[in-house]
Amino acid sequence: MSYISHPPGQTHVTDALIIGAGPVGLFAVFELGLLDIKAQLIDILDRPGGQCTELYPEKPIYDIPALPVVTGQQLTDQLMEQIKPFGAQFHLNQMAEACVKTDTGFRVTTDQGSVIEAKVVIIAAGGGSFMPKKPPLPGIEAYEGTSVFYAVRNRSAFAGKNIVIAGGGDSALDWTLNLQPIAQHITLLHRRDDFRAAPHSVNAMREMVATDKMSLVIGNPTALQGNNGQLTGIDVTLADKSTTTLSADTLLAFYGLTMKLGPVATFGVGMQNNLITVNTENFETDVPGIFAIGDINTYPGKLKLILSGFHEGALAAQKVFRYVHPDRKWRFEYTTSSSNLQSKLGV
């Protein structure tokens, strides 16, 4: 899958900015492209596909019209192929943080310092931004960023630390192996003595446990100890339901990702139960020029289906055309018969 992905920190200008590169955001690129509307997409994940590639890349989907069965990854790959002629540009690993009105449309800024000026904004953010799951331990917020982390941004910051790594997947195992040489001590904490990480990582970890280079504890964290944001220990319930306290100054927790609505809630569009209200004629929000399609919107009769999001994107594109090309007459055409559309598709 090849596509244009921009590094963060730059300023870009486009017709339509799509927030969310899941299936619905991707298909919107197609519908916009047919109407000569250029699009860029922002996504917090490191690749297109949204939930389809993050949550269930291998799981079959049976309700995409004309595709009796397709996996989340296949659907994403096919959509990327379908929108290829339109050269959409991606801003990945970034979260849309703010959206302000300008004379020409909107200025959206990301948490990584990118700025995108667009005539319209289409929010296709699904269930929100994927963020690390935070263990429900009392007072954990006070330690976040000082002693408790959900990702390693700067490896050297962990040198000499007494680290507990919680989790049993590839992230937990990879960082256990990666940080062990520079940490003072590493304890891997997992609920069961079985790991779904890559077998060679698991073997390498077990070898280090056998040679006393690190510790493995089977159990669940129940409480954090420390003060002023500095962790000193982690209370743990062990497999036999007895309790103990692991000494630690750092906790790295890897329990997968979850979706949180995030900053979209501050964009000023009307909302109901954490969903964006839209009209069903063109899926525009109550802010002219901002649209919402896919799982993130709500209206009477809404169904959270990928196919509904495709429909919503198609209708939204027609209204977007009026903002982007106000001087042009809107014309309805079929890809089957229109040489104009076929030339855009390069067929």
Partner: protein, 111 residues
């Protein structure tokens, strides 16, 4: 057909259940009226997220079908997992045999 669900504050709710539904779906349906029953269940039953985690009451553990290998693995992404009682409620289907099932909502599955 009923299920008993203990919310995160310890209050018990006896809920009407529907045969063939997932326990997660029954809880989610009632949560529209009873916010204390809120359950994230963000993947909608695809066994992809572990945000519908519950503890099955001791009396019931042996009376419902055992978890699949995939469900046991997916519990790695849940919190405060109990190897004996933890289940993902999207994987328990209501049948005559599960009529009266009692479960408790686990921490970390709040919407």
């Amino acid at each position: 057909m009923k299920i008993n669900v203990t919310d995160r504050s310890g209050k018990n709710h006896c809920l009407d259940a529907v045969e063939g539904w997932r326990v997660m779906e029954i809880i989610r349906d009632h949560a529209e009226r009873i916010p204390a029953l809120g359950i994230k269940a963000e993947c909608g039953g695809a066994l992809a997220c572990a945000t519908c985690h519950v503890y099955v009451d001791e009396d019931w553990v042996d009376q419902i079908p055992e978890p699949s290998e995939e469900e046991i693995e997916k519990l790695d992404d849940a919190f405060a997992v109990d190897e004996e009682f933890s289940r993902l409620s999207c994987q328990i289907i209501m049948t005559e045999e599960t009529d009266g099932l009692s479960v408790t909502l686990a921490p970390g599955s709040e919407p």
